[in-house]
């Protein structure tokens, strides 16, 4: 059985003027490098800076072609973009990895994943989620675990995810503990995560007569907010922990309710 003929095709209707997808299928050996050069000359003439090479139909790639891709990648990096691979078969991925290409190129499952990564890495796009739950302590663990999974999915380290899980847990616990209970009084959590930080807002309703008490509790000098704890109290350390784990925190208390806003920078 002979090798499939080499085919290439450029498309650019991917929702961003900077993105081009070069679909390469068939057998890319030394004889195909001229065709590759022709296509990349065309790409270089345009304003595309982020090129996704879609290898879904690729059967084989010679090391000389990989060398060509390295040269093209350099060109797009200089434009502030990159060249990445998507849709690699197991064999192609293994071969490229063996050649050390995984240390230079990013590999993505498919074109859509590569586009999402572009929006995340280059456009600093954020992912936002909003969750409302009845003011019940039993519902806090799944919320905090969701926050941890969300940032892990976005590439945050296990340690950062653990710290974020702790912050979300403590803020939500406080919202439930100090806010109005019952199914009609929800705790509203909004999280916006980007490559560099997570922005967390947690709001709850509270009784108007508790405003003064809550304001006193949230003062930085109040018991439980320093890092010297006593052994007598089982509670009262949550706010201190949030302050120490986060990079910025403010609390807005009105007669309608409380909103805690925390910013946590990605550290690792």
């Amino acid at each position: 059985m002979g090798n499939s003929a080499l085919k290439m095709e450029i498309s650019s209707d991917w929702g961003s003027a900077e993105i081009a997808v070069l679909k390469v299928s068939g057998f890319l050996d030394f004889s195909g490098i001229a065709m590759l050069s022709k296509f990349f000359d065309r790409i270089a003439e345009e304003k595309w800076s982020y090129v996704i090479v879609d290898l879904v139909g690729l059967e084989a790639m010679c090391s000389a072609a990989l060398g060509e891709f390295m040269g093209y990648r350099k060109r797009f990096v200089e434009r502030g973009g990159s060249l990445v691979f998507a849709g690699l078969s197991g064999n192609i991925r293994s071969k490229l990895t063996l050649l050390g290409a995984n240390k230079i190129f990013s590999f993505y499952q498919d074109v859509r994943s590569a586009i999402n990564a572009y929006k995340w890495d280059y456009k600093k796009q954020s992912k936002s989620v909003a969750i409302s739950f009845p003011a019940d302590l039993a519902l806090v663990p799944p919320i905090r675990q969701f926050a941890s999974r969300l940032v892990r999915q976005k590439g945050y380290s296990v340690k950062d995810a653990f710290r974020i899980e702790t912050i979300v847990d403590e803020v939500c616990n406080n919202a439930v503990e100090h806010g109005l209970g019952g199914a009609e009084n929800t705790v509203d959590v909004r999280m916006s995560v980007d490559k560099e930080k997570i922005d967390i807002n947690v709001s709850n309703k509270s009784a108007p007569e508790k405003v003064a008490v809550l304001r006193e509790l949230t003062k930085p000098q109040t018991r439980g907010t320093g890092n010297h704890v006593g052994t007598d109290d089982k509670r009262g350390r949550g706010l201190a922990l949030i302050r120490m784990l986060s990079n910025d925190m403010d609390v807005d208390i009105t007669e309608h309710g409380t909103t805690v806003h925390v910013i946590k920078l990605r550290e690792e």
Partner: protein, 118 residues
Amino acid sequence: METQIQITCEEIAGKANARIVRFVGDLDATNVDYVTEQITNYFSDGLVKIVADFKQLRYVNSTGLGVLLHFNKSAKERGGCFKIANLNENVYEIIEIIGAASLLDIYDELNEAVAALN
């Protein structure tokens, strides 16, 4: 919808009033009452020297930390101790950040904590 936590207890040869208590899961506001009841029962049964094995304790929050400090104090008041071993790095960071590392009796390894029992 409590967070899963399991507590199991193991005797220590030659130490009738001591036990190794293994924690598995997350220690948080949803299960501190259960954990407090279990440990308090051990104290009430005269098992006042506890070595808490945290090897499989994934998570602890400020409420969980509060009860650990409480166990430490209660055990000492009864002439015993509450030693903690095998903390994971993340849990240790929480304990340290809140300033409780110096208040708790923490050991790297379980056998060190057991050996330190009087």
